[in-house]
């Protein structure tokens, strides 16, 4: 089957992953205490357990650099992602240990250095690149400070959180992050992966990667339900969330189940005044790699119809993660008008800083 969507320089890639070579790369962006502490204490290897650098998912074979970790080479990112698929903008979502470290202050130090490193060594070197602000969700007050520090830099277009955290994101514990996000009109990107000190399933630790990765979408379901049922979107009515690398096709059945149950028990959450589907369609977006559907245009079209909104999907390659082979990141089944929406219009509407 020929590609139905040709590369286009107008596209906006909403999920790419520059890699951090190691803690040494971040030391110049730390204060003297932390720059010294990481060396003195011999600490490195803050790569996320969700995407171990050597794991197949972490890098498509033909994108694996000859030396170094996946995604660490700017020239390769430019040729293999930005040029190959076409990109007006691409949003960098670095995944690194600061977002999950146990120590709140160390986490904040790594996140802060990572943000400055991304700005200096990636954003400054290619005008197509934008980035998410990485924050320590472990310490919402420190996360809010980091958002305040970086919000003036308009190249930061989103706040990045891991899908699995210490608590469900609907808890008021996280309100400082959401208040800062709403204040600066920054969407919250929730990316696949967890802190790996809490079981990634609600029923304990799985034994195999198969289970771990497939069950990842269940974490997104829990966060979605938490954010809706706890009234986060009532407290922060302009807040928007982007589910990154969440998969897509689980959504229709989930929406149906959420509506069905809400109709029966909505009195326990009376602040949820509208159907969960309405909150999902208005406040949540999903990147479309992985999409998780067979290569069948009719099936894809049916799923899109069941999702019930043309505004929700955002084009993404998830580079360099290995979600697809070849040169076609978009499954068959999207109409030309919908292709235009997911590759251009929806990203622009989701990330107002791309144009302002």
């Amino acid at each position: 089957m020929p590609p139905i969507a040709a590369p286009s320089a107008e596209r906006i890639d909403c999920d790419i992953h520059p890699g951090v070579p190691g803690i040494k790369a971040l030391l110049p962006y730390m204060n003297t205490y932390w720059a010294d502490a990481f060396v003195q204490r011999g600490m490195d290897g803050f790569d996320m357990a969700s995407y171990p650098p050597g794991a197949p998912i972490a890098c498509r074979p033909d994108w694996r650099p000859p030396v170094g970790k996946p995604g660490t080479n700017l020239a390769q990112l430019q040729s293999a992602a930005l040029d190959a698929f076409g990109a007006r903008f691409a949003i960098c979502n670095p995944l690194y240990g600061g977002q999950v470290a146990v120590s709140e202050t160390m986490a904040a130090a790594i996140c802060s250095a990572l943000n400055d490193w991304i700005a200096a060594e990636w954003l400054a070197r290619d005008p197509r690149l934008r980035a998410s602000i990485v924050v320590p969700a472990q310490a919402p007050h420190l996360a809010a400070e980091e958002i305040e520090r970086l919000a003036p830099d308009r190249r930061f277009v989103q706040i990045l959180l891991p899908a699995g955290a210490d608590m469900l994101y609907g808890k008021s514990y996280y309100w400082p992050i959401f208040a800062a996000a709403e204040k600066h009109n920054l969407p919250i990107g929730i990316h696949a992966g967890t802190m790996y000190r809490h079981a990634p399933t609600s029923n304990g630790w799985p034994s195999f990667y198969l289970h771990d990765y497939v069950a990842g979408s269940q974490i997104f379901e829990d966060q979605l339900l938490s954010i809706i049922s706890e009234g986060t979107l009532v407290k922060f009515p302009t807040l928007r969330f982007v589910l990154l690398e969440s998969g897509v096709t689980w959504l229709p059945g989930f929406i149906w189940r959420a509506i069905k149950t809400w109709r029966g028990v909505r009195a326990e959450v009376p602040w949820v005044k509208r159907s969960p589907a309405a909150y999902i369609r208005d406040h949540f977006r999903l990147t479309m790699q992985p999409f998780d559907a067979p290569n069948d245009a009719a099936i894809v079209a049916q799923i899109l119809d069941e999702i019930g909104s043309d505004d929700m999907l955002l084009y993404a390659t998830d580079w360099p993660h290995w979600q697809f082979d070849g040169n076609q990141p978009i499954p068959a089944g999207f109409s030309p008008a919908l292709l235009r929406k997911i590759t251009v219009d929806n990203p622009l509407a989701t990330y107002p800083r791309l144009t302002a």
Partner: protein, 137 residues
């Protein structure tokens, strides 16, 4: 449309309800502080008996964690799946414009008025001294 005498008014005091049959259809009759309302006793979801549901209040909130109760006794919850219906309108709480329990007009009339007819009282003997619940169908 004809008038059907279904019960003596005294049988359904304020806050009460009664299941009656009119032309073969089950009708749940409710008395809200003296005003009578009738709903087809089949939940539009899957047919549960609304008359057997929990009579409750409107639960609303303007912010997370803040509960407000109002309209005491005016909301019926289907005993099967908990869907809420406004007894005054038949509208469902969650999809008022799309999902509703069918309503039938109900009023109280005196026996003296009724005997001037026309009315249908299949099982209820009407006397001029009492008041009666009348369903229009």
């Amino acid at each position: 449309m004809s008038r059907h005498v279904v019960a003596a008014a005294a049988e359904v005091p304020p806050g009460g309800r009664k299941l009656v049959m009119v032309r073969g259809r089950p009708i749940a009759v409710f008395n809200l502080d003296g005003a009578f309302f009738g709903l087809l006793n089949r939940c539009p979801h899957q047919g549960g008996s609304l008359c057997e549901g929990l009579l409750t209040s409107a639960v609303t909130a303007d912010a997370p964690g803040e509960y407000r109760m109002s309209r005491h006794g005016e909301i019926i919850r289907c005993p099967w799946h908990g869907w809420e219906f406004d007894i005054r309108t038949g509208q469902s709480w969650c999809e008022p414009d799309r999902i509703a329990a069918r309503q039938y007009p109900v009023e109280v009339q005196s026996g003296a008025d009724l005997v001037r007819g026309p009315y249908i009282a299949e099982t209820i003997p009407v006397s001029v001294e009492a008041d009666y619940i009348v369903v229009e169908m």
